[in-house]
Symmetry: D2
Subunit: 342 residues, 4 copies
């Protein structure tokens, strides 16, 4: 079928390509003309402007926005006057689900349908397909099935779940209608919260392995540092790339994130090219806020988020307070920095 | 080659079967004669006693212990007088790596080689193979390669890591010599620590999804309970089995644990048959202790462990103290229990 | 000076009494006539209705609301038509600071001043005085100084901070103008967040002391339970009431909360009369949300909040998922409940 | 009575002075002769060597060691040949309680009594007195009461606990016999674990207050950073020194640590002179290990400890792994450092 795609960054472009590979017709637009041209060269129809894109789509139109969350409302404001009742707008970016609820209501007042799609897959999606978590009206989503089917990985991407009937829904294709407006981004939000937790679990574990040689280092001997009681138990020099590799087969902790970790450690086992300042996107934060509003404990997901904050120096003032307290009650001076690995 | 297997619980029996399937000869012993008989019926040689097992093995003997960690030392004490210099004892159970270091030294004084193998794979190992993390002497481990190759899943069990040379070691087969005595169980210990973290990340996330309907419940209105400010944002009734299923394809959080979770939620989406009292084995605890001795922060892995403690009621006294303090300073009485889902 | 007090629960009544003890004239109102009568008997002027209360106050009127946060907006809606430009409304309850910002703007449009006061002190405030954290316009707050001075504990309540000039502001009296609308409740919010952290620190520590006898208990010996490696190190039967008492003098961890804990443990060292279901009010939750929006790590305050959630059973489904996973990959059955203290 | 004091660092010297102020006779020794001389000038008897110190003490001798934990065993080895049955050695430093158990047994074999004393009070102890947590034999500890009474703050240092009978034990004096060997240091260990939690609670809360102006800063606008949804709610510039001060009177979170924090923030509200690299001593670590061995959840105390580890850069490799994963799956590059406060 035909789809308008607005926003041709890496995600939007790759999704357009995957759709065209599956035989769909894509009309594309982006503020950067060269992004439009690049996809035109691969078979897309170029929309020189929003109005141009809209005019090239048959009715009812289906238009997918793949934009930074911060600009979606502005783009919708420009787009809405061009649309007609029955048209469909899909937000496939990283919007907060509460914005979806508001937008769904707003567009409905003009007779336009709104669909929110949480999209996971990253740079591998073009080839592997995208996992799609979808919110909106049932009929509208059924209408868009050809699009979802093309974007999703398909059932063959993973072995069947033994106890599941294979004809019971689309989840095994890699896309799912999760509920009304916002449901797609809510599920994607929690997905990302989980992602942070998984990543942190591997990162902490590998850090423990990396420091298993601490007994071989000449220790500090001043009063401010606890001596290691049993250096003989920390004499291991582990090859992390090979350990990540061995865990990929047969172990309980095998995962796609582990596959990526094993790859990243190859050739750069100490990850020298990274500084360890870890960004976080909104979803991880919103997941914790949802947990708190629901009164659901989420210590693991929260700890994972806070590690990212701390990695960027955001605990510094708190730490200064700790040092100030220690100085007050114990006369403890701070120790100068000396990296463990130095 | 020939291997003696002592301890024919589920793990020991399945490993014996897998070894025999790969053409190895197994001499087996267990305190329960029927376990021996069951494997004899499938081609194993039965050892009626430790001495009998030892006598049936060619020299140098290789004997694999697959026993609860708590009984390994006793079994070694019985076994050692029967062995000769050059023999090999392998501990494939869940021993603490510090015990391996001690045992390695102890057996070496009799000329016997000790090998520690952390084994992951659970009930699926017979079919999928076992991930083996190995500590000990290089020559001894090379000698045992046919055994490890048979038990491990083999390279085909996962796609090759793109940036890794495929001939650079055994990790891609699913087994790895990690270092000297204790290294195998150290790596397995951290593996389990990570496992706890991964499991908790999924569990917390699914719990947040499950409670996304909190705005539909008639809320408490007393002074002790914070009213939900925006019930309109918590109106979702998510089908968790389908969400776990859709995440299995194309998403960043795909993993074997997710596969299992999707399977578990099928047919029992509220997991009624479980109480939620979660056991923990030593490895998770030892991982945190290692982190602390290394001064490596492990907030995610620790939180995961503590959730298990709390699930068994071990926070109860701490919670009573909180209630007592609140009663003291604010005159707050405890609220009676009323399950959110009730 | 003269003050109207609306809301004569424990806090409102005690604050009225303290104000009258300091020579102020209080006009009081509550939906429960007997609460009004009780204070009339102690010298307050009774307002039979909102209108009656308003009519008995000289202009500009100052009216303090001491109500559950959930009903403040309704009460304001009833009150506003009765007020005139220049009047002052003070919210001394537990409002969310964002509501203060909104209300401050709303009342300003009618020329009425709004002041938010975070009030700490609990059941001891009548005697000890209340710690007041205040947000609003500078002139208005200066006008209310006699009220704040009467309610606050006064400088003598604590030794002077050595490095602080004693004439530099009101903080040493126990009240502080923290900033514009909402600033008072923001500071009170974080105050409560800290309170949760402090309480949890004591509670966890005392729980560790209480279980220092774990080596004396006959342990579980099944495969699902890690045996205690060194029971000889856990043979202590600590008298918690006396330990809390000894910490009150000379130690680094002395505090008012510790004083209360010592008192609570007297006569009920196992706190049998509590179940350990710990409520939480909005401030603790909002503190974490503020931390997340600010990207400030708050692992301790979050953990304290989550312990309260868990104490009320809100982790149950997450725990069931953990048990379900363990059942899937390891065939582990749950262990039946058996309380450690049983 | 007479006491030998070995180790005249700040703690040992101050304790000696306090004992002499209370009329006790102190024989002192230190490896630094000038430390001995300084105390001789204030009335102590100087011991030029261990043997000299021992010879100047009447029998049964009581000798207090106030030494770094790491050197206690060596000092005991030198001291023991000089002692006789009935003599008493007191370790008042920061020993691990397991060492106390071992030493208690070892000294007993020579008829010498061992007493472990956890000592809290820091640089203020000389004036305020020391909180003493004591382990050992009942008779021996009763014999030492005059020493403990002199060192402890005394009952007047805090108001009486309302529900406690004032004649029921020594805890209200500020010292307590907690149990057999090791009990004193066990209680002190947990005391320090709690201390870390309390300190972190204040530090996190003050950090949240400090960043309440985040809405006034010109934000990052790139795709890697979540925009603040509501900058209007984060417009507060809080004066932290005054907030700490106001909390000291009448609030629930008043404490000695808060008193010190208020003092530290005076004159240096941004704590510029500190870097925020926070040391930790053994007790905090051992507390967590005890919690884990007891299966007692301690998320708050653990988080406090991990914040200290992270403040010293020990999470760096874990963070690099997170960045590496993000780079792998999303092509995310790290953002360069730009301090929030810059």
């Amino acid at each position: 079928m035909q789809l308008g795609m607005i926003g041709l960054g890496r995600m939007g472009s790759d999704m357009t390509r995957r759709l065209m590979n599956h035989g769909h017709e894509c009309v594309v637009h982006d503020v950067h003309p060269q992004a439009v041209e690049a996809l035109q060269a691969q078979g897309a129809v170029g929309g020189q402007s929003l109005a141009d894109l809209v005019s090239r789509l048959g009715k009812p139109r289906a238009i997918w926005l793949m934009l930074p969350a911060a600009v979606v409302d502005d783009e919708l404001a420009r787009l809405m006057p061009l649309l007609e009742p029955g048209d469909i707008v899909i937000d496939g970016g990283n919007s907060y689900y509460r914005d979806d609820i508001r937008r769904g209501r707003m567009l409905a007042s003009s007779g336009v349908h709104y669909v929110d799609v949480g999209t996971s897959g990253g740079v591998f999606g073009l080839e592997r397909g995208y996992c799609l978590m979808i919110g909106g009206e049932k009929d509208v989503i059924r209408h868009l099935r050809p699009i979802f089917t093309a974007l999703a990985p398909g059932a063959a991407a993973a072995p069947a779940t033994p106890s599941r009937r294979q004809d019971q829904g689309t989840a095994e294709q890699g896309y799912l209608h999760c509920g009304p407006h916002g449901a797609g981004h809510f599920v994607k939000m929690v997905h990302n919260g989980i992602e942070y937790g998984l990543m942190a679990a591997y990162a902490e574990g590998l850090n423990i392995l990396r420091n298993a040689d601490i007994g071989t280092r000449s220790g500090d001997t001043d009063a401010e540092t606890t001596p290691l009681r049993h250096p003989e138990y920390y004499q291991y020099h582990f090859e992390l790339p090979e350990i990540a590799e061995v865990w990929r087969r047969g172990s309980v902790i095998g995962s796609w994130l582990l596959d990526l970790t094993a790859d990243a450690l190859q050739g750069d086992p100490t990850l020298e090219k990274f500084q360890g300042r870890v960004s976080d996107s909104g979803e991880g934060r919103w997941t914790i806020m949802a947990a708190i509003e629901e009164a659901v404990p989420a210590p693991v997901l929260s700890a994972a988020l806070y590690e990212r904050f701390s990695s960027r120096g955001d605990a510094e003032f708190a730490n200064k307070i700790l040092s100030a307290m220690r100085s007050e009650f114990g006369g403890h001076a701070e120790k100068p920095a000396a990296k463990p690995g130095a």
